[in-house]
């Protein structure tokens, strides 16, 4: 039986979280060095869900890439497709009609609702509050059903097409959406009350993971995580795209800078999403759904497109070379910027607070994966072929 003697106390006690762990819904490897229950150091290793999408995009044509990029992330699939379509439309110098842009924004806001409700449930589950988890996911079914009614699928809506959208919002659908939003708004008021007033929940969130404004700006965090520390950064306000110039967004800020503030910012963003959705449904412009002329080959150019995903700013760099496929496509998702803040914030907290801080940034591991170069002392930093990797695996387990 291992004893923790005085000599062993000088040894580091490392708790690995991931890549398979009930706290993480997706794989990532964290190593927390603890002293009793207090974390003294943290490190992270990503790359478990890397699929080579950027490389894959270079061998598919512009139309096929929409669907490839939708599948970068399951929760924010629409915003990825929207960013891609807006970027390609910029390259081709084609303008999608106003009705299409408004429908894109409507779906983006509905997706924000679905994403924040999902996050609220997962955060409650990490805190041990399973009842709130069940209730928020039950209410999320309402918005999933609405999205299925509009597009035909609950996830990966595939509403975008190069030059516009595929599906229209008819009057019966609009009536259903308004009804669903009314129900959700009432429930969201209730959840805001629970988060602010439930004593035991407050003990898990108030005063935890404090990130002052200066530190937030230095670490470069994005999205609701930054807005909860008072940093007024929101792409929909700073650089409005699609139909956002016609439907301006009120930025939601909170100055408490702790975990509870991140909860409150996201719930208040839900209210803002309901307001914008209602406004769009009331004033949906008439017109076509798709721009008439969308070329199959796009002349050489490069562009950058920034949009506001539910987790923060999403950036696409697209470069075309006159053919039917892109030359280079680069996706920079918000989670990879927020991940470093977790490492800084967890130091000094209890181990029990670590999953809460991690879930506070709304991590989406499948969004942020990149190829990882692991340099070891034995091998030089060379590139392995598939055959060599496979042989390495076989030899390792034969030992």
């Amino acid at each position: 039986m291992p004893t923790i003697t005085k000599a062993a106390q000088a040894e580091k006690f490392v708790v690995p979280i991931g890549p398979q762990h009930p706290a993480l819904k997706e794989p990532g490897h964290f190593e927390f060095t603890v002293d009793g229950e207090v974390v003294t150091a943290a490190s992270v290793r990503l790359g478990y869900a890397h699929r080579g999408i950027e490389k894959g995009a270079e061998s598919r044509n512009w139309t096929q890439n929409q669907y490839l990029l939708e599948r970068v992330c399951g929760i924010c699939s629409h915003i990825h497709a929207t960013a891609y379509c807006l970027g390609v439309e910029q390259l081709a110098e084609v303008e999608a009609p106003p009705r299409a842009q408004a429908i894109r924004v409507l779906l983006a806001e509905l997706e924000r609702v679905h994403s924040h409700l999902l996050w609220l449930g997962v955060a409650a589950h990490e805190a041990g509050f399973d009842t709130l988890f069940m209730y928020t996911w039950r209410d999320r079914e309402t918005v999933m059903d609405l999205l299925e009614q509009i597009s035909g699928n609950r996830v990966n809506y595939s509403v975008n097409t190069l030059g516009g959208v595929k599906f229209d919002i008819t009057d019966p659908i609009a009536v259903d959406i308004l009804e669903g939003l009314a129900f959700l708004e009432e429930r969201t008021h209730h959840y805001l009350e629970v988060i602010e007033n439930d004593l035991m929940f407050a003990r898990r969130t108030r005063g935890i993971g404090i990130m002052p404004r200066a530190q937030a700006e230095r670490l470069g965090v994005l999205g609701p995580t930054a807005r909860a520390s008072g940093v007024a950064r929101d792409v929909r306000v700073d650089a409005p795209y699609a139909a956002y110039p016609d439907y301006p967004v009120n930025i939601i800020l909170d100055n408490a800078c702790d975990l509870e503030a991140r909860f409150i910012v996201r719930v208040k963003e839900l209210f803002e999403a309901y307001r914008i959705s209602r406004e769009i449904l009331a004033t949906l412009p008439e017109g076509d759904l798709v721009a008439k002329r969308m070329p199959r080959r796009i002349k050489p150019a490069e562009t950058i497109m920034r949009v506001e995903a539910p987790r923060g700013e999403l950036l696409y760099f697209i470069k075309s070379n006159g053919s039917e496929s892109p030359e280079r496509l680069h996706v920079r998702t918000p989670t990879i910027c927020n991940m470093a803040s977790v490492l800084t914030l967890t130091v000094g907290h209890n181990l029990a607070d670590v999953p809460m801080i991690l879930v506070g940034i709304d991590p989406c591991f499948s969004c942020n994966d990149r190829g990882v170069i692991v340099r070891s002392e034995q091998a030089a930093g060379d590139l392995w072929t598939w055959e060599r990797l496979r042989q390495h695996g076989i030899d390792y387990y034969r030992r």
Binding site: V14, E37, D353
Partner: protein
Amino acid sequence: MELVRNVTALLIFPGGLFLLLAGLMYQWADRKLIAQLQNRLGPRWFQPIADAIKLLANEEIVPDGVNRLLFVGLPVAALAGALTAALYVPLFGFQPAFSFTGDLIVTLYLLSLLTLCTGLAGANTRDRFSLIGAVRALTQLFAYEAPFMLALLGPAIVAGSWQISEIITTTHGSWIVLTQPIGFLVALIGLMGKLEMPPFDSPEAETEIVAGALTEYSGRGLALFKLGRAVELVIGLTLITAFYLGGVGQGALEPAFFTLKSILVLGLLALMQSLMTRLRIDQTVGLWWRFGAILVLMQWLVLIVVKMVS
């Protein structure tokens, strides 16, 4: 004849096999009640029984670096302790199978044996999660044990004895929950701590330390620990119902009435489980040693004053 009756009571009914099955049914009732409060269906009636049978049939993997004797023996000791404690409590409204002076204290200590075995089992491995889980389990034991024991001793003072069979006969008919409500509350919440139910499930916090002290267990060892938990649930409910909700009488309908009362207490437990978030281990200890101990000591003060006056 006496021997046959005793062996039956020990192995078949109301102890032994019947107790194990009843424990698993009580666990099912708990899960079903929580599911209903969370607006969902919950498991079917045979789920915990099926889980137990499946686990018993699974291969038991003994990890590297453990003391093999302890690893295999601790689950057996835990279940044995729980089943022995069952002999002295009025299970399902029947009179206790055995009884002697002071068996209340022995029963309470046998119940703690399960938590001790869990802690030892966690410390026995080289796995970080188990070590942290074991530390948390033992810390929580030190937190709730004193208030829980004092809360159960309240009715003992009223009855003037430390023998369970005497206490339940003396208090039959009088519902002590009405005169000692604080004690009832502390006993109920203490039971949640003992059974590691939310909000006191920090020792096996799924989202932080996988499965706590039992992370490395599989197959038979895990099944025995889970069965021990199930038995502990029944014994805890029985003790609280017998002490606070009107003792145990001799009538023919007594078992049915008693079981109904214990299910009511289970309902209260399910309600409290679904209302609260998990507490951190330092918050648990703080809560118990500040509020729990003070409340129960206040209750005792009232009791002693009333006894001295009357």
